[in-house]
């Protein structure tokens, strides 16, 4: 129940909720991760990435019917990331091999989709997106990142009706395209 409140708040991009989840489990996570051969700075980095993945999944509605505790879910993601890190450093090969990582992923049924590198096209798009006004950023983020329908956007951003929201979105896309092709 408590977790549901937090998940809802995370979806709404509530900073206090993010902070409470982050700080609430940090000590335990560090304690948990210390048994692996990683230094504390890396552990914290991994923990932050795990929180980001958790946040992403909350936004995508993947935590709406969460069967485990939020904390357990977070630790599973973190554990997966630790294994991945160790594998990159080739520490785990001799010990547990690839199967441990794969098993962990299928056991826990979560997806960790952190965007690391952008393609060339995407980099251009990124520069253009950053130079958009706040209004455009808001509407595009709701539509593409949070998966809102036009109706939901109309309500959330207080547009007078669907058509207004829709043409605003089209204008933003058009500006984006102009920005890309004119640079």
């Amino acid at each position: 129940m408590v977790d549901e409140v937090l998940v809802e708040a995370l979806k709404k991009r509530n900073s206090d909720a993010l902070k409470s989840v982050y700080l609430g489990h940090k000590a335990a996570f560090i304690g948990f991760a210390k048994k692996y051969p990683i230094d504390e700075a890396t552990i914290i980095d991994i923990y932050q990435d795990a929180i980001i993945a958790l946040h992403d999944n909350a936004v995508n509605g993947k935590l709406d019917n969460l069967k485990s505790e939020l904390k357990t879910y977070l630790f599973s993601i973190g554990k997966y990331m630790i294994y991945k890190k160790l594998k990159q450093q080739k520490i785990m090969y001799s010990v547990e091999g690839n199967t441990a990582l794969e098993n962990l992923k299928s056991d826990t049924d979560f997806s960790v989709n952190l965007i690391e590198e952008l393609s060339e096209d995407q980099q251009k798009l990124q520069t253009a997106f950053k130079s958009l006004g706040d209004k455009c950023k808001a509407i595009l983020t709701l539509f593409y990142y949070r998966g809102f329908t036009i109706e939901e956007i109309t309500n959330d951003l207080n547009y007078s009706n669907k058509d207004v929201a829709k043409s605003q979105k089209s204008r933003c896309i058009k500006s984006l395209k102009n920005l890309i092709f004119n640079t």
Binding site: M1, V2, V5, L6, S15, D16, A17, L18, K19, S20, Y22, L23, G24, H25, A27, A28, F29, G31, F32, K34, K35, I44, Q48, D49, I51, I52, H55, D56, K71, T72, F75, S76, K79, N113, L114, I115, L118, S119, D121, Q122, L125, Q126, F129, K130, L140, T141, F143, Y144, Y145, G147, F148, T149, I150, I173, L176, K177
Partner: protein, 237 residues
């Protein structure tokens, strides 16, 4: 449905099965559609990356500037507690079972740490040591975090037993009951202890029938809390 509409439904995850087929077909055959879709898919990736970068910065700022955490956290904690209270079945408030609550309070005390002796000043900092240091220091919230972390590493009946004790102390007796009931692998040495605590948890949740059965078992085994169990049994009648 127009092509734009199809893409719109794709992003809001509201494509019907039929529309999905149309979407797939266009993606495979219509170059312009494919380009338009790819542009928007790229945009989605870019925005996601932006969000992730922003959150990362936010998390880093918690690391550097975090001294005012407790107040804000408290707000959430209180909000969460209120909701938990509201979600409890009404009858618990409608018919105050003060007697059972009082009986529980009079008899309950978290089981002492007999499994992981703490040597004061010891520098070792295994998770298990930290857990029991918090437990002995009555920092039950912290102890719970450590026990949880230990249990994520591996199932352990003894740790589960102590975790349930912490939950009882934190008044989360329903969760404690679930753990005690499932904790069948516990070593013989702690069996009676677990029955005693489960009995107390049942009393706390007004399940006197189950509590009576367990108290009788505790009395029969006779190696732990026999007299206290006998007394408690009389008080329950």
């Amino acid at each position: 449905m127009t092509k734009d509409k199809l893409i719109e439904h794709y992003f809001s995850k509201t494509l019907s099965a039929e529309a999905q087929r149309e979407f797939d077909h266009l993606l495979a055959t219509d170059l312009k559609f494919k380009q338009s879709f790819k542009f928007q898919e790229d945009l989605k990736t870019v925005i996601k990356k932006e969000e992730q970068t922003q959150i990362k910065q936010e998390l880093r700022s918690f690391e550097t500037s975090n001294k005012t955490f407790s107040k804000k956290y408290l707000k959430w904690f209180v909000a969460a507690c209120v909701i938990v209270l509201l979600s409890l079945p009404f009858w618990q408030f409608g018919q105050p079972k003060l007697d059972n609550e009082a009986l529980f309070a009079a008899n309950f005390e978290p089981y002492e740490n007999v499994v992981h002796p703490i040597v004061r000043g010891e520098t070792s900092s295994s998770l298990r040591t930290k857990a029991f240091i918090s437990y002995e220091a009555k920092d039950y919230g912290q102890a719970l975090n450590y026990f949880d972390a230990l249990l994520i590493e591996s199932d352990n009946a003894t740790i589960s037993f102590y975790k349930a004790n912490v939950l009882l102390q934190l008044n989360r007796y329903k969760e404690a009951i679930e753990i005690f009931e499932d904790n069948t692998e516990l070593s013989q040495k702690l069996k009676s202890q677990q029955q005693w605590y489960l009995a107390l948890a049942y009393i706390r949740s007004n399940n006197t029938t189950k509590a009576t059965v367990l108290l009788n078992t505790v009395i029969e085994s006779g190696n732990y809390k026999k007299r206290a169990a006998e007394q408690l049994l009389k008080q329950l009648d």
